[in-house]
């Protein structure tokens, strides 16, 4: 019998005997489920937040903001600067022939009733703002009208702050009505209230835009666009691909948490590893006579060792699937607020990571018992009690 067929046969025997050894097998499954469940739950936050910031269409977009700050904090892109930015080469044109780029204004609003500190933000968008967001849909009420003191609230902001059509938001020049609620395919803009940029800036008595978002003709146009802007002596602006910019913004929110997730996952895996070694040693002990019999009738040491490894891996993967399923049931799609609304996401790649994590842990844990099983002498094993 070839070695592969021997391995398959011994594995069948080993796995078949699992029914009689189900309590320790269950411990491995539950232990690994805890490890992968915690890891997937923690990383679902990073995945969800990244998805909220990173849109597929952003690959061909660029962000321009004032000065050399890392982010668009200064809000000092004046109209003349914006006009120059819109002249840059590489910007795609809309149906009307105008550059497909939007100068946007950002402002933190004073706390709403019942909230001590304010984390609701207002985004003023221009005519191209909606063209840049094809997923934008009004789900209640109507869109704000250009030049009027009207706002629309993103579904995330509406849920978090209890806003609906008819609510009002206090701005510097009085209360502005919320005339609509919009969704935008889980984009982070759903966490904002949005109004007409010019009207909002006039009300806020601010002259500077925060950023210009430009749709480029293609991804290759970025280099020329960037060079033109950064080497223009009349401008002092920063330029970045939107995907890179968004990765930095979401990364600033999640870097510590992501590191913690991997650290905790590693610590838990270390604990599970010790548990698996212990349980698989016990399994080898329980199967000593069975292993002795297999060796006596001609099965080699490698198939016996492989069967122990396969058993450990199988239990680990089952645990990973259970843990990922628990994480998915408990967290996938659940809305959270971390400087903005987003949905937790237990993605297929997270599940794959969990399975890989469990597989490595269980194979490492199964290795010492597998070696012990391989070294068992048939005669001694058959005499074991």
């Amino acid at each position: 019998m070839s070695e592969l067929r021997q391995i398959a046969a011994v594995c069948r025997v080993g796995i078949g005997s699992l029914r009689g050894r189900y309590p320790p097998a269950l411990v491995v499954v539950i232990g690994m489920a805890c490890v992968v469940g915690v890891l997937a739950s923690m990383l679902s936050l990073t995945a969800g937040l990244t998805q909220a910031y990173l849109r597929p269409e952003d690959a061909t977009r660029a962000v321009v903001w004032s000065g050399t700050a890392n982010f668009d904090q200064s809000r000092s892109l004046h109209r003349d600067t914006v006009a120059t930015v819109l002249d840059a080469p590489g910007i795609a044109k809309g149906a009307d022939g105008a550059p497909l780029a939007d100068a946007e204004f950002l402002m933190r609003l004073p706390p709403l009733e019942g909230f001590a500190a304010g984390s609701l933000q207002l985004r003023g968008v221009g005519p191209a703002g909606l063209a840049l967001r094809p997923a934008f849909r009004i789900v209640a009420g109507h869109m704000f009208r250009e030049g009027t003191r009207e706002l629309v609230a993103g579904v995330g902001a509406a849920r978090k702050f209890g806003l609906s059509v008819g609510s009002t938001v206090q701005l510097r020049d009085g209360r502005w009505p919320v005339v609509g609620v919009f969704s935008c395919g889980t984009d982070i803009i759903e966490s904002y209230v949005v109004g007409d940029a010019d009207t909002v800036m006039a009300a806020a008595r601010r002259r500077g835009f925060a950023q210009v978002i430009a749709q480029l003709t293609d991804a290759g146009a970025y280099a020329q666009f960037r060079t033109w802007l950064t080497e223009n002596p009349a401008l002092a602006v920063s330029v970045e691909r939107k995907t890179d910019y968004d990765l930095r913004v979401s990364g600033a929110n999640t870097a510590f948490f992501t590191h913690m997730a991997y650290l905790i996952g590693a610590i838990m895996a270390l604990g599970a590893l010790c548990g698996i070694v212990k349980i698989m040693f016990a399994a080898v002990r329980a199967r000593t006579r069975e292993i002795g019999t297999l060796r006596a009738i001609g099965f080699g040491a490698v198939p016996v060792a492989a069967s122990v490894l396969v058993e450990a891996a199988l239990l680990g993967v089952l645990g990973a699937l259970l843990g990922a399923a628990c994480a998915w049931l408990a967290f996938d799609g659940r809305e959270m607020w971390v400087w903005g609304a987003f949905r937790l996401r237990v993605s297929a790649s997270l599940v794959a990571l969990g399975i890989l994590w469990a597989l490595v842990t269980s194979l490492l844990g199964g290795l010492p018992p597998a070696l012990r099983a391989a070294r068992l002498l048939p005669a001694a094993a058959l005499r074991a009690e």
């Binding site: 232990g31 805890c34 000065g67 402002m107 001590a116 601010r206 600033a252 610590i267 548990g275």
Partner: protein, 395 residues
Amino acid sequence: MKHLPLVWAALWRNRTESVLTLLALSVAFALFGTMITLNAAYERAIDDTRLDRLLVACRFECGGLPVAYRGQLARIGGVVGVGGVLWLGGHEQDARHQITVMFVDEGVRLAWPELPMTQADWRALDASPAGVFLSESAAARRQVRVGDTVSLTTGPGGRADGGDTWFFTVLGMIPDPPGWGQGSVGPGWNPDLIVGNLRYFEASSRLDERDVVIVFRLAIDRAEHAREVCREIEARFTNASPALYCVPARDDAEELADATINMRQISLGIGAAGLFMILFLCANGMAESVRERLPEFGVLKTLGYEDGRIATLVVLEAIVPTVLAAVIGSALARAASALVAHLAVKGVIDMPEMRASPAAFGWALAAALLIGALSALVPLHRLRRMDVAAVVAGR
């Protein structure tokens, strides 16, 4: 006590497996202890923010608050100190490194005594307006020493002399305030604490940017009046330009903690998952141990051991390793917390200072007792139903 030799012998029946169980338990308790300490660190970061401190800022985003408001705020009933704070952000010599200097006026000494500066520090800052104090983590990040110069470059024309760079002499280091720099102002905010003298900014900034601060910090006489004083401030400045917004510092810290990733809740969830994981390991170990030693227990019963004494033996056998693991795990958690605290001070990670506490050890011990007791339940049930004659006869 007299049961201990029996329990000890039972525990070490299979040395390798016992060591592995102890290791697994210790790792789980190390995780649990670290999570409890992490939770406490985040809680403390909020608790250390006092309720008798108020923050006053523009109700609507504005270019700054006139310093002339200081006197009006000081005259409001209950207010015992008013300090003005202004942040100036830019980059260091290397444009990739962001830097923010927090300029403070002399009122901050009274309004914000928690700022970890000694009287000598304040005197030094007063005597050298172009000097700055850096928090230990900020200094470690920049590898600067007393007497070194740090620079801050803003946009062109930021200074009255047309320049765009401010130079500061490092006067000293101050401890990192608890909870400082939790990313609480949002992405892109530089968490380093660098304290400068507002007089220097006033003297060197453009004329149109002088005489304003970003925030007033107020100290009040009684914490229970905080919200009332805030309401009065907001009412008094409703029609002012700019209008004011006031919040007790504690409320602000709690709200901001909720606006970021809630590590307080998450740490407890992870600790619980770790314990759940080892509960099954312990229960399985105990069940296996009792199953393999049924004849031994049968003999003990035959010798006259009552159910209670046998139960004591089993419970002790379950509890001893968990308690031992709790002690080892807590020691490991202490080391892990010290490492994290070290990393936080060095600025490698951004989180409140972690301090190991007796409470964390207490929680670990309580969890160990609970897990030990729970994992003994099934084996005890089995022993109670055991047929002594059959077991002793080997049936």
